[in-house]
Structures are given as structure tokens and as C-alpha cells.
């Protein structure tokens, strides 16, 4: 299958479902990306990745340099955190962070000194191919790099496990299927050579023997830049132009489109020898290996009809979102919603004081013309449009029914856990039912029910264990008592025997004595008899 694809450029397969959306890519790609100027203050949440939070290495009042490690990874999987510029740590406390839940989390707050002095980087440099995998992976531990496509899984951990899984194919996700977002596209157009070098490093680290780069065909400039760079390199890279169809950028969907393989439900790509990385991630990898600079900047799209001058920015992690909006010309009068990510899977932000995090690929500012209010939901007419659109092959209308009934058994039977929350069903639903919202709720509901029952199990086990212990103690006591009784009985019995013995012996003795006496008498008699001689 793979070999068939090799060196071809637009052979592709298809997945069922998916939807066509207006891509709105032109708005933010009219000009090249710009470097965002320094902000006054940076807020750096300790948890910007999947896994344990990073552990702060600095204290309030410390002066730090750009690129300096300010928090080391917690228990794996975790990722490090670095100062985006030079300055002073002014606070380490809980602050609001961009998160769907709207919760606060522990953050390091850095006040920039405006000098932007960097720490001394010690890059691996050009000779990375001659370095061992272990050495490079160890270095990567402190790179702060995580999956920049949205999953934010620590890259060192991911690459570290690739050999165990015997990964053969590296998939680079440049699909960027969500409307409005253009950060990956811009990066591919502007930094194709670096991305290709990054792919080389990822191939080396993962042990994969080939690489497929999937890019949607609405980005011809990115496709041609990447193809050229790939051709100029010596790596086994095939750039594949794939049809524009949301959600082709979903990990499983992209693998299917590129290789015709389906990642088994409930399994990971690594189970079928695939490793998927985002273009931004391999770019960060290359930066780190070549220049030693950890992940302190990322490409971010600021777009929508709610900002005056949509554009892509190379912005430092921790930048206040308001500064990004400012750089994009500020709000238009009709801006009424702020979304982190795209219009399909992004989440709404309550305000622009939040910081840019590693996962922040796009800041979408919109007016009601672009993202109108959803009309009130009508009953499900079971039209099946949702099922036709679902790229996971689910029956959303059934899931909806069972979600309302909170029928967990049926929800699991109808594979709710295969739902990737892409929103296709929601988008096509003529009744405007917030299906994804129901499914998210049900997933959490099932998880917490499982947690409850796990806790109940533990409690039951504890109870059972305690009961068993008590029973054991009681049994032991009883046994001891029984043993004592038995011993006593034995003793008594033994005493009884003694008595009998004594009597017997006494009798014996008496008998013996009698016999003796008789004997004596006889003897006496005989002696008398003999004495008469």
C-alpha cells in the first residue's frame, strides 16, 4: 500500500463522511508572517501540555534570560517551560488560562526587561545524524516541545516510544482542514527547508523509514514549497496533495487518506506502525537541534472579520492575546466572539487578557455575520444527515437519544468513545441540535460514572478486606480458643488416662504384691520345706 504511494504526489484514499466548508484561508495569508514585538508581561501556565504540570525552578524576584529553563518536566509525560524573553519573575500563582473549562491554573508571570537577552544555547548542531538516539532524546526532554497541532502531547515522550512500537511511517500533518486557520500553511511556505530537516531528525529519532506529508489541495503554495524542499533533501519524503474536506486533518482520517489504513477503534496510530506529527512540531524540533532554542515561540493566525488586519504572527508563548489582536489592527466594531482555534473545534474565550499557550494555533475574532447564534434546537427528525457526515462512522442520532436518556451501556455500544468531537454532525443537523455538546457531556458522565464505580469497587474491596480481616481474626480467635479447649481436653483426657493407669498400676502392683506374697508364702513354705532338710 505504502510503496504504491511512494514518490506519487496525489494518490489518496478517502474516509466516509466529512463536510465541505468555506475555507476562509485567504483572509490571513495576504502577507507573510510577522514577528510579534515584545510584550510587557508574559503569563506562562505550568500545564500547557498533556500530562503532569511542569515544576517551577524559579522564584518570585528571580531574573531570567530568554530561553532559560524556568520549569522542568514533572513525572512523564510532561514538558519543560522556558522564559520567552529576559526579565524578572513577578508572580507564581493561579491565573485564568485558555481552557474550555474556563478554570484558573498555576502560572509563572514574567515581566520583560525589554532587552531580550538570550541564555547561552548549546545546540546539538549539524552533526545530529551522528549522535545517538538516546543522547538526542535526553536533550529533547528539556526542549519544551509538544505537539503543536492541538494535541500538545510531549514530543520527547512520543518520539521515545516510537521504537518500541516499531514505527515505520512518519506522517506529517499539514492538512490544516479547519477554516480560517493558516499557521501551518504559512510555516510550510516560509520554512519548508527547516521543516524538511526537522522531518529528517524525526525519522532518525523514530526509526521510521519513510515519511508522508499530507497537505490539503487548497494550499498549492505550501504543497509546492514542501515538495521542492523534500526533493532537495535526501530523506524518503513524499508530499501528498489531499482533497480539501473537513476533518482530513484528524489523525485517523489523515492516516486513512494517505495510506488507506484505519487505526483500529480504541487503539493509537503507533499500533499500526504510524507516528503522526504536526508541521509546527517538526519545525520546533529542527530549531531546537540546530540552534538550541527551546519552544518559546510559535506561529499563530489572528483572523476573522472581527480584526482589521488578519495575519500570521511568530509570537512568544505567554503573550497576552490582546497584544496579538492589537498587532492585527485591533477589533472591528462588530467583533463579538473570540475563539481559540477554528470555528469547528476551537473553544470560545471569555476575554483577551488570557495568554497565548503552546496549543494556540489561531485566534479567531468574529462578528455575528460569520458565527451567528445557533437557532433554537428542534426535535431530532432522524434524518440521518449527521450519520452521513460523521467521519468516525457513528450514528449521532442514536447517540443523542441515548445521551439524553443517560443510557451509558447503549452509548458505549454505539461507540461514543470513537467520537472525535469534530462537529460535523452538529454542523449538518437541520434541527440545530448541539450534538457535540451532548457527546462531550456523556463522555465525561461515563468517565465519572466509571470513576464512581471504581471508587465504589475500592470501597467494597476495602470493606471486603476489612471483613476478611475481622473474619480472620475472629477465626483465629476461635481457632485459638478451640486449640486451647482441645489442649485442655487433651490434658484432662490425659489426666483421666493417668488415673486409669494409676488404678491399673495399683491393681497391677496389688496383684504383683499378692503374687509376691504367695510366692513368698510358697517360698517360705518351700523354704520351710527345704528348711526341713
Amino acid at each position: 500500500m505504502i510503496s504504491r504511494l511512494f514518490n506519487t504526489r496525489d494518490t489518496h484514499f478517502r474516509f466516509n463522511g466529512g463536510i465541505h466548508l468555506d475555507d476562509h484561508k485567504a483572509e490571513s495569508t495576504g502577507q507573510p508572517s510577522a514577528e510579534l514585538s515584545l510584550s510587557g508581561q508574559y503569563t506562562l501556565p505550568l500545564r500547557q501540555h498533556i500530562g503532569a504540570p511542569a515544576q517551577a525552578l524559579v522564584s518570585v524576584g528571580d531574573n531570567v534570560l530568554k530561553g532559560q529553563l524556568i520549569a522542568r518536566p514533572g513525572a512523564a509525560p510532561s514538558a519543560a517551560l522556558h522564559a520567552p524573553t529576559s526579565g524578572r519573575i513577578v508572580a507564581i500563582d493561579a491565573r485564568p488560562v485558555p481552557h474550555p473549562s474556563g478554570l484558573s491554573d498555576q502560572c509563572i508571570v514574567l515581566e520583560a526587561d525589554g532587552e531580550d537577552r538570550a541564555t547561552d544555547y548549546s545546540p546539538v548542531g549539524e552533526d545530529w545524524p551522528s549522535r545517538s538516539r538516546e543522547e538526542l532524546l535526553a536533550a529533547l526532554q528539556d526542549s519544551g516541545i509538544v505537539g503543536l497541532g492541538g494535541a500538545v502531547f510531549p514530543t520527547a515522550t512520543k518520539l521515545g516510544s516510537a521504537r518500541e512500537w516499531e514505527v515505520t511511517t512518519l506522517i506529517i500533518n499539514g492538512a490544516e482542514c479547519e477554516p480560517w486557520i493558516t499557521c501551518d500553511q504559512t510555516l510550510m511556505q516560509e520554512n519548508a527547508a527547516e521543516i524538511v530537516r526537522g522531518i529528517g531528525i524525526a525519522l532518525h529519532l523514530s526509526g521510521a523509514t519513510e515519511c508522508l506529508v499530507g497537505i490539503e489541495d487548497n494550499k498549492p503554495a505550501a504543497i509546492s514549497a514542501m515538495s521542492k524542499a523534500a526533493k532537495a533533501s535526501s530523506y524518503p519524503i513524499t508530499v501528498v496533495s489531499v482533497p480539501t474536506l473537513y476533518p482530513t486533518g484528524g489523525e485517523r482520517q489523515l492516516i486513512k487518506v494517505l495510506t488507506d489504513k484505519e487505526v483500529p477503534a480504541g487503539k493509537l496510530p503507533s499500533n499500526i506502525g504510524m507516528l503522526v506529527m504536526n508541521v509546527g512540531t517538526v519545525y520546533a524540533l529542527e530549531r531546537f537541534i540546530s540552534t538550541g532554542e527551546p519552544l518559546i515561540t510559535r506561529m499563530v493566525t489572528v483572523t476573522g472579520d472581527g480584526v482589521r488586519a488578519p495575519q500570521n504572527f511568530r509570537a512568544r508563548i505567554g503573550t497576552p492575546l490582546a497584544d496579538l489582536i492589537q498587532a492585527a489592527g485591533g477589533y472591528t466594531a462588530s467583533a463579538n466572539r473570540l475563539t481559540l482555534g477554528g470555528p469547528m473545534m476551537g473553544y470560545a474565550l471569555p476575554d483577551d487578557t488570557l495568554p497565548l499557550v503552546k496549543a494556540g494555533n489561531c485566534l479567531l475574532v468574529t462578528s455575528p455575520a460569520v458565527l451567528p447564534e445557533k437557532p433554537a434546537a428542534l426535535p431530532c427528525i432522524r434524518c440521518g444527515a449527521c450519520a452521513q457526515a460523521c467521519p468516525a462512522g457513528l450514528l449521532p442520532q442514536q447517540l443523542y437519544w441515548y445521551s439524553r436518556a443517560r443510557n451509558h451501556e447503549a452509548l458505549e455500544k454505539f461507540a461514543i468513545n470513537s467520537c472525535i468531537e469534530c462537529g460535523c454532525c452538529d454542523y449538518v443537523c437541520p434541527s440545530h441540535i448541539p450534538l457535540v455538546h451532548y457527546f462531550r457531556f456523556s463522555k465525561t458522565d461515563i468517565r465519572s460514572a466509571a470513576e464512581e464505580s471504581r471508587k465504589a469497587d475500592i470501597a467494597r474491596q476495602r470493606h471486603d478486606a476489612r471483613q476478611a480481616r475481622l473474619d480472620r481474626i475472629a477465626a483465629e480467635k476461635a481457632a485459638k480458643l478451640a486449640a486451647k479447649k482441645a489442649a485442655l481436653a487433651k490434658k484432662n483426657a490425659a489426666a483421666g488416662d493417668d488415673k486409669k493407669d494409676a488404678i491399673a498400676q495399683a491393681l497391677e502392683r496389688a496383684k504383683a504384691r499378692k503374687a509376691e506374697l504367695n510366692k513368698d508364702d510358697k517360698q517360705a513354705g518351700s523354704s520351710a520345706e527345704t528348711g526341713g532338710n
Partner: protein, 342 residues
Amino acid sequence: MQFATRVSPHTVGPASVNAVMRHVLVALLPGTLLYGLLFNAGVWLNILLAVVSAVAFEALILRLRGRPVGPAIGDLSAVLTAWLFALALPPLVPWWVIVTGVFFSIVIAKQLYGGLGFNPFNPAMVGYVVVLISFPRQLTAWSVPRSLESPQAPSLSQLWQTLWGQLPVDAFTHATPLGAVKTALTRNATLSEIFSGADGIGGWLGGHSWELLALTWLAGGIWLIRKGLIAWHIPAAFLGTLFSFALFFYLIDSDHFLNPLFHLFSGAAMLGAFFILTDPVTAPASPRGKLLFGAGAGVLVYVIRTWGGYPDAVAFAVLLMNLCAPAIDYFYRPPVFGERHG
């Protein structure tokens, strides 16, 4: 700056229930026009009366249930139900037949079960079966197609009078082709005798005039499939099964079993296949479930038409299969992504 937050996805798609129903109504339009032209304008009067009474009943019940009336009327589902119910009726029926049927469709079969989306049975067919059983005489007497030598074609004022029950319906009616065949067969006539008879009930595909109507429903249905508003599975399975059964028996004895095309192009087979069985609320969700559902209805229609007490059977078949739909849905779950092949 502060912003309102919403859950994703934030993009709102263009589809609406109103648009879905509107498209189905548009697909019904050519057939509805043709039906009136082929038979008489009673067809249109029936639809008008059914729609008006359906909307009135729906509004009344929603008011009684304390539900907003506007959106439910605006979704056009009551209009569609009434329309389909009226299409199932013979062109000449008195008004009380229509109002009774609509009452059972909208009030009993739909609203009492919880309204749109919650009804287990196809409301139009519930209404139809109720009037078929309650008023068998009026429901089996069909108008004679214009193209055939008809004893008297009803004038407009006569149509009006029949609607108000002031004129005996029988004056202008005949049995349907399926009905005529059934009656003749029970009198031990052979099919060749029946079709060579002078009353010319047979056309080149199905019943005379009925075949044209069936072709129009077919065209409307294909348009709906191409628009993505109905899936092909139910019509294909239904028509395919009906055809296969009919073919099997026809090959055994062509003098006593109707030919398969006659089955497809007479009676309510085409209307049922594309507009009634495909009512999504009362059909299974999965593609394979739909195939099973359609095939089941095909078998039932053939069996009831051939050996049952009624000349046509689409309504009964639909209701019986509606009964099975929830079970089909629960027990059959299609493979999800990643379950077919690794």
C-alpha cells in the same frame, strides 16, 4: 474586552427542518399536479382540506400542551403529513373522512406521542389506516382516470358536493386496477382474461394512468436521493424485494400472479417507496437497518396484496415495519471507523 462563550462547533450549517420538509413537498409537487390531472381536482381539494385541518389540529394541541406553536408549524412537518395522507386517499371522499384521518395523524399518532421526532408510527399512515377501516366503502371506491371512458366525469360543483357528502361517491368510481384484479382473481378469472377485458385497467407498465403517476413519484424520489435528503437504501430494498417476489411467483404461474412491473407501477408502491417508508422518524438509522426495513416492507406488501384481504398494502406494511424499526436500530450497530480493517 469581554466576549460571550459558546460551545463548539461555532459554525452554524445551512440546513433546517423547514428546508428538508420543503424539499420533500417540492418533490411531491409534480406527482400531485399529475394526480389531479389524471383523475380529477378532488385530489387537490383533499390536500387543501387536509393541510388546513392538520395545521389547525397541530396548533390546538401545541397550545394545550403549552408548547410554542410557531416553530412547530414552521417546520412544515404537519403540512407534509397531511399532504401524504391526502395523497393516499381516493380523489372523491367526503370531508369527515379527511378530518377524521388528519385528527388521528396529527393528534393521536404524532402529538400524543410527544410531537415531531417522537412518533413511532408514520402519522399519515396511521390516519389512512384508521379511515380505511372506518369508512371502507368510501376508501376503496376510486375515481376513474379521465383518459378512460368514464360514466360521468364529475364537474366542479359535483366535486364540491361530494366533499360535503351531498352526492354519493359511487357515481364516479371504480375499483383501482389492483382492486379490480383482486376481485376478478377471486372470481377465478385468469389475468389474461382480466387484462383483455373491455375496461382497460392495464397500461403498459402498471395500472392505466397509475403508471404515469408512479413514474412521477419515482422521479421526485430520485431527485430527493440526489439532493441527499433521503437515502437510497429503503426504496431500493423495498422495490427490489417487491419485484423479486413478484417475479418468482409470476414465473411459476403468470395467469394467477401479477407481473412484477405491474406491482411496482400500480397502487401506492412508488409513493410508499420514496415518500412514506423513507420518513426518517419512523425508519431505522443505519444503512443496513434501512435495507432490512425496506425489504421487510416489500415482502409484506407482496404477501398482503396477493393473499391478504386488501388490494393494496403499503400502509399496513409501513406500520408493521415501523414497529420493528427501534429493535433493528438497537440490535444492529454498523461498524465504526477502525472496525472494518486495520
